[in-house]
Amino acid sequence: MSHATVPLEDAVSFKELKKQPLYAARIKIHPKDIHGTFRKIKWTVLVVLLGIYYLVPWIRWDRGPGAPDQAVLIDMPARRAYFFWIEIWPQEIYFLTLLMILAAFGLFWVTAMFGRVWCGYTCPQTVWTDLFMWVERRIEGDRGARIRLDKAPWTAEKVRKRGLKHGVWLLIAFLTGGAWIMYFNDAPTVVREFFTGEAGVAVYFFVGLFTATTYLLAGWAREQVCVYMCPWPRFQGALLDEDTYVVTYQNWRGEPRAPLRKNTDWEQRGDCIACHNCVAVCPTGIDIRDGLQLECIGCGLCIDACNDVMDRIGRPRELITLDTARNQQRLARGQGRVQRLIRRRTVMYAAIFTVFGLGILIALGARASVDVNVLHDRSPLFVTLADGSIRNGYTIKILNKSREPRTYTLGVGGVEGAELSVLGQEGVSGDRIRLEARPDAVTTYRVGVTVPEDALDEPVNDIEVVLDQVGGGERAVNETVFRGPG
């Protein structure tokens, strides 16, 4: 015990430690209403995005008989995804990967230039939270009224307001969940089935699920999603640099801050009058004057709030503004602003974005309407026939992505004298065989390829299976092996 270095009275008791909660309690945020440029942009983006979300499933797109006429549809049972003129098969799921890579680099690119505009304007969490806050403001009043209502005892009036608010929230949440399933089902059909009780269990489950998540995330969790749940703010430090435009409090101009008094000498003090309006309007409840921080979603509402105050006290606008860290340093030193939107980081993001964008376009443009999959029989690997020739069996799957039945010829390359036949079917044989393929479906054939006894030198021979469209230029090639005794 002589080696003890911590004096007893300084050691925190384990039991004392245990009394401290693991998580800080949430301080409820009551964002104040504000008008201004950024608010207008935010409303516009909100209306456009919600409009897209709710209306797109109702756009019709004629694809001919037997195919769904919904422009954007993910048809799980039929395993097809439709996007206007594009029809994606499950085999082409890599388009989704490419799209996500494209989206990620687009996000990096915009963030490197203009900070977290995604968070502030377009993230679903922001959009629905904003909508829910608008409802709250219409029913319960602005910030002051809401704080008072929070503290007020449960009168009939409070019950009415709260009930109405949650009712409207739930209605919006329900419409959100309802619109979600329209992307996976024919919209008019699923709406009718939903209300007549004919829809499937999955439909009711997902409507319920997305109603619940929307209501909880936009109504209750709000900024906690951004601050505690979302990974994106955590790596903004890796994407922002000194030339990124972010929401900035112009420290050099605002400090020292002091409350507004009559006959203020503006030479002796900063422009910030410590009115806390920037804090009051912030949807995540932070003080932008503390500098760039994880919680800031870059929405710019504090700029609107501050400009409003600056106009009223007759000081220049833009005490809080969109600016770069480099410019702030230069301005503090009395130098002018510089703009560096084109820099190594943004050029690289733009280049990667362009490469993947072009890649997707080229891949979509060159997308063949036919593909062939080949599965070599495993048992038996090969068959010796009576005359000594060797036959290998293959399962050939023809993917006809067009909407009409097509005929193809099948041949193989890589071994001499190969004779093809459809196993168990008489009369179909030759060095090339004709195969019918059903429209918009996978047609399967069991095909035998027979080669003469002396055609093989090796036990395993690489061959090519070539499928050519009859009366059309489409060709699909797949590689497989031909096995023999060797």
Binding site: P380, V383, D387, G388, G393, G424
Partner: protein, 289 residues
Amino acid sequence: MPTKVEKDAATGQDTTGHEWDGIKELNTPLPKWWLYVLYASCVYAVIWWVLYPSWPWVNTYFGGILGYNQREALDERIAEAAVARAGWQEQVAAASLEEIRADPQLMTVAFSGGQAAFSDNCAPCHGLGAAGQGPYPSHADDAWIWGGSLEEIHDTIAYGVRSDHPETRFNMMPRYGVDGILEREQIGQVAEYVRSLSGPSEDPEAVEAGASIFAEHCAACHGEDGQGLPELGAPDLSDQIWLYGGAKDEIMAQVHNPRHGVMPAWVGRLDPETIKSLTIYVHALGGGQ
């Protein structure tokens, strides 16, 4: 063991009373939630014992008050599947083998059903995909001992080969060596002749001598040119397919003391529709005639 629980001065926690060189162990109990999960698991286990099969008796076991039995559950599922298949089974039963082959849909049903039945009943000997192994012939090739038409395949499956069914396919090749019908040298000559039917021989004298022996003893069943006679189950000796091996010593062994494979009759063990489906499947593997 100290009778009084000692408190650690620094942390205010109880100690276990254990002490090593002046270091005392704090007594940190398991978290409450962990204990509750344990208790809940215990309760769950007891409920399970009562409801489901659990404790072994001496020569049986406690079946649980729900009477659940996995074997019965499986039987129920199989019965459900049979009901679901019934429509197709009836169609397969009603159609002739040729009619099934002519109808793509019935063909698909019969082929799939045959494939499943083959894997369950036939693959242990004939191999998956009827690849054949050892003395069990392959059905993927185009050589048939007892004939490769639909009817012939059907009868072979239904009645078996050398089985105990009265209608079984049966033949018996004489034991030329064991019973002293042919000398060892003659057997060698006839084997050389048989090999010459499907490839060049380096011993023309033996071939010539073997030819006359073959004409006398073998051609009655295997045919004058050794092309076989499916009606008697005499294999084609002029092709490249050898059930018991095509080397000279293997052929000699078969002439000296023939092996005779046995296949059970499946009629009575499998229902007629399954035998039909098996016929369709085997016929469609690539060698059907």
